[in-house]
Symmetry: C2
Subunit: 215 residues, 2 copies
Amino acid sequence: MRERGRQGLSAKAIGRLSLYRRLLQVLELHGVEAVFSHELATLAGTTPSQVRRDLMSVESLGTPSQGYPVLATSQAIAALLGAEAKQRVILVGVGSLGRAVLHYFQRNHPHLELTAVFDSDPAKVGRQIDGALVHGLAELAGLVDELQVRTAILTLTAEGAQETADRLVSCGIVSMLNFTNVRLRVREGVYVEDTDIGVALERVAYFGQRAAEED
Amino acid sequence: MRERGRQGLSAKAIGRLSLYRRLLQVLELHGVEAVFSHELATLAGTTPSQVRRDLMSVESLGTPSQGYPVLATSQAIAALLGAEAKQRVILVGVGSLGRAVLHYFQRNHPHLELTAVFDSDPAKVGRQIDGALVHGLAELAGLVDELQVRTAILTLTAEGAQETADRLVSCGIVSMLNFTNVRLRVREGVYVEDTDIGVALERVAYFGQRAAEED
DNA sequence: GATTGTGAATAAGTTCACAGCC
DNA sequence: GGCTGTGAACTTATTCACAATC
């Protein structure tokens, strides 16, 4: 039995593994019991080598004749991603994007649980928005501590984003999905993933123009 | 994320340049006339070397004593990103995420213009949603051709995502920002950028857990 | 003296290619 | 015969380090 390194997976690799797991769960639902790397690669929009390489990080379970067992592989990825228990997440900022993320959770996300929702706007605090009770930022420290949350989603406006991030970190949040266009400054050890829609749009527009010019 | 790039800039580099430009525009507004690479790096959440390296792709304009001229650099990036004219973009899928993107455009995006909005739901077609008239998919081919659009944003549900992408490509769309969790299969030369919120969330949760364990 | 521009070095990420297996 | 697991090769991305510049 070989030691499998469970340290040092890159953010990219984690993203692909998460995708594979979702695809495997769909296959399982359809009664498929095994897949080959090239099949999973097609579904995931990547290459067979990449799939095999990624699945090396997981206990290797594939056999040349059958490919990868769907259920076992999906479970092995789950173990690696650490989803023994549902992980708790909070959301800060209930604007239109915040509501879109709320919606996302309502279609029943299997591995994550949105436990509390916050907004700085006094007009929203205390109200029920899309099925979630909106808390004021004053309750942040108390709830984060009580619920033992480590992960936050930032869907607020650029103003106050850094200040809110600082508060979150001091409350114990160590990982954030940042939808604002501000590049947050956080202390070493805190993970921030930026999803800047404006940048994504400009990039797509750039490649659209390039491709169009190439005719 | 598939890439087509005739020789030149990577998707990552384009993203950073787009960010620098936005930051430079803010600086300009504040009357700042020049910045050093380390200042821009701090604002952009990157390193001075990276900034200098990126700005090499642009006509290099910096001087050791002053740094980079804010206005000229911002304009040089704009020229590179090809934003002489506002680029036209369409949006397909007016659910909660689609509306969030609509909102985004309403705060007046300087370089892109959302020219048409589509949805497959007959109940939405013909209605005005958040200030935009929703078209049916039947009008897709006509409008894309008439408006000469090359770029689309996909904010619809997973069902029908591939089929809609196929239609878009056959209408002349060559670049897409894909918010669905489906990895689209498109012909060579079409750029697709995936923004999978589910994957992003799982990644952030993973790093949250890891960081928490390290205490 | 601090900063730019850049070749050279390093790191990160991906693909190749092939032995061993079913 | 076609597949997995994996070292090696390769490609892409980032950082270093330093001469040239202001």
